[in-house]
């Protein structure tokens, strides 16, 4: 059973952390992953940096730009992750834009992920229909869960459809926004969280975008299986480097 599915079966709320591979330093990747697991994080999204991350806000953009400057590439990332499963057990997801994956070759990319022990992929600009038509078989062959997003604007029908083709969790974007642009959730968002919760989807939802602290984590997980923190953690890395990861995670979980 895929580590994501296993993790979801646990009764606890899930804290997932996103970081950009190669940031702040090229070789911080493994170190960050290990520290995150040690600090009690349940799942990790490893960002494959992209030159034109159009769904991301300024914080993640800047970290991607820096990572690329540092020399991060798909090849380098795979090398860094080669032995990751010797030390890390929690689910690992690669989050990246489609073009670098396409250039690597989707088949080759998936194969490599499988070899390393990656559990899933989030590719924001790979549309559902293209995935279904062209890549689903490949993903499944390599035991990879493809995670789809929904937003407050996603129609009920489409949510049901996405639920039907998902087999891990649904990445629920907290509000219409690129990453990092929220601070705290208002009525509109809580209503949206409730509305989705009430749909009783087969896949659990994990909420991302705008989770930055204990308060927003609790708000989000009140209506969902878990929450994903991205920009807030990147900001922490920018300020503190790879030290004090533990205290960052503790400040979320309290």
């Amino acid at each position: 059973m895929n580590r994501i599915n296993k993790k979801i079966q646990e009764s606890k709320k899930i804290l997932s952390i996103y970081f950009t591979a190669g940031y702040p330093k090229t070789d911080d990747t493994v170190n960050i992953i290990q520290n995150l697991e040690k600090s009690g994080v349940d799942m990790i999204e490893i960002g494959l940096p992209f030159s034109d991350p159009l769904a991301d806000g300024p914080t993640i953009q800047a970290s991607s730009t820096q990572a690329l400057k540092n020399g991060m590439t798909t090849e380098v990332l795979f090398k860094q992750l080669k032995d990751i499963r010797e030390s890390v057990n929690i689910p690992l997801i690669i989050m990246g834009y489609f073009n670098p994956i396409l250039q690597y070759g989707v088949e080759a990319f998936c194969k490599k992920c499988e070899e390393i022990g990656i559990d899933g992929l989030i590719i924001p600009d790979l549309p559902v229909d293209v995935y279904n038509e062209k890549y689903k078989a490949t993903f499944e062959k390599h035991g990879l869960i493809n995670v789809f997003l929904i937003t407050p604007q996603t129609s009920v029908e489409r949510i049901r459809f996405i639920d039907s083709i998902s087999n891990g969790f649904i990445y629920m974007v907290s509000s219409a926004s690129v990453t990092g642009s929220q601070s705290g959730f208002g009525d509109e968002q809580t209503n949206y969280f409730k509305r989705i919760a009430d749909m009783n989807l087969k896949n659990p939802q994990i909420i991302g975008f705008g989770i930055s602290d204990n308060k927003t984590f609790l708000q989000a997980t009140q209506f969902s299986k878990g929450a994903i923190i991205g920009s807030a953690f990147i900001k922490h890395l920018t300020k503190e480097g790879v030290t004090k990861i533990n205290s960052f995670v503790k400040s979320i979980l309290k």
């Binding site: 159009l54 769904a55 300024p58 073009n99 670098p100 937003t151 604007q153 219409a176």
Partner: protein, 393 residues
């Protein structure tokens, strides 16, 4: 083989809508409605009336006598430079603003490179009384100052794109981000035949008025509706798409697409996508783009802000791949020379984008009896400083 779009939104293998889910409702709403709305007689009437009375269409098809003599062939210039706001871009923004109104949007965003599309968008927003935000690379803001001033005059907000190469590509990223953040009330007016389906097709259809006019204008001049060649510069590809549109399927008519080679194709400072590009995804569309082996999009370079884009629209990727169009790369120097030549032979100051197309005559020999229609996509008023500095005038 067809060179037009198929019902799934692809030109051959290029196109599609590679967009984050956050954009899905917007793009889907557009995809479902655009053909229907465009077919409405009321829409057609309003569109055509504005093109005529506001834009100044038809734009003339001008037989360039002295240029023709110089290159010993028959050169007709399609005078998009005479359009209101000075380029072909307004054909599209007029269409899209009418589309946006029918979709009930009241906030408009756009990206711009040379500033022509930004001005054209700010213009139609003023005309309709809609809020307008234009994203523009910081570098382009500096090199196209007159257009920035024009946008401000027209009441638009110009937001500098500070990321990446700080040119058109990055302005487009910023516009997409804005759209993600404002999914309900906002329409994104893309300025070329790029972006997710249905944009490339919609923009091409709005620009198709260009080749529609060429047909009857050529009939008046030459007693036939078909040229031997159609020449156009390609940044994203909208002026070329418009000039080619009604000729796409008639392979007797040769299409020439002109790209910016910057300081030389292999100089590392170029925007010659067909030569340097590979298949990939940019701004929601599968097409040819300049990228590292690793799939990172390259920062392009051209003296011309409107051609300074690392991709081409999917139609053009298909025209290239299929061999339907011949692609020619023109350096900064070649373009500038051709631009000055047009000034002094014909009294027309071309946009530097269009100067790239004009440089074809030094690169390729045509027969004396060939009828060559060249899309003079814009006027050079926005480029005066660049010309003056370049030539030390």
């Amino acid at each position: 083989m067809t060179y037009n779009i198929n019902e799934k939104g692809y030109y051959g293998e290029f196109g599609g809508a590679y967009i984050p889910e956050m954009l899905y409702p917007n793009v889907e709403e557009l995809r479902e409605n655009y053909l229907k709305i465009m077919a409405e007689p009321e829409f057609q009437k309003e569109f055509n009336q504005l093109l005529k009375d506001y834009v100044g269409r038809p734009s003339p098809l001008y037989f360039a006598k002295r240029l023709s003599e110089k290159f010993n062939t028959k050169i007709y210039l399609k005078r998009e430079d005479l359009n209101h706001t000075g380029a072909h871009k307004i054909n599209n923004t007029i269409g899209q603003i009418l589309m946006a109104k029918r979709l009930g949007k009241h906030r408009i965003i756009a990206e711009t490179g040379a500033g022509q599309h930004g001005v054209a968008t700010a213009t139609v927003c003023a005309l309709m009384g809609l809020e307008c935000i234009v994203y523009m690379g910081e570098i382009d803001i500096a090199r196209q100052a007159p257009n920035v001033a024009r946008m401000k005059m027209l009441g638009a907000t110009v937001v500098p794109a500070l990321s990446g190469s700080r040119t058109l590509k990055d302005a487009t990223n910023e516009a997409i981000r804005d759209w993600i953040n404002n999914p309900v009330d906002t329409h994104y007016i893309i300025g070329s035949v790029v972006g997710p389906h249905p944009y490339p097709d919609m923009v091409a259809r709005f620009q198709a008025v260009v080749s529609e006019e060429i047909q009857w204008q050529l009939q008046e001049h030459e007693g036939k509706t078909k040229p031997d060649y159609v020449v156009a510069c390609v940044g994203g590809g909208s002026n070329a798409a418009g000039a080619y549109y009604h000729f796409l399927e008639d392979t007797n008519i040769k299409l020439i697409a002109v790209e910016a080679a910057g300081k030389g194709i292999h100089s590392g400072e170029s925007a010659a996508t067909s030569v340097l590009g590979k298949e990939g995804i940019i701004h929601g569309s599968k097409t040819l783009l300049m990228q590292t082996p690793d799939g990172q999009i390259t920062e392009p370079y051209s003296i011309s802000a409107g051609l300074d884009y690392p991709g081409v629209g999917p139609m053009h990727a298909h025209l290239y791949k299929s061999g339907r169009a011949q692609f020619i790369s023109i350096t900064d120097d070649q373009a500038m020379k051709a631009g000055l030549e047009l000034c002094q032979l014909e009294g027309i100051i071309p946009a530097i984008e269009s100067s790239h197309a004009l440089a074809v005559f030094e690169q390729k020999t045509f027969l004396p009896e060939d009828v060559v229609v060249l899309s003079l996509s814009g006027r050079g008023d926005k480029d005066l400083e660049t010309y003056i500095n370049y030539f030390n005038l």
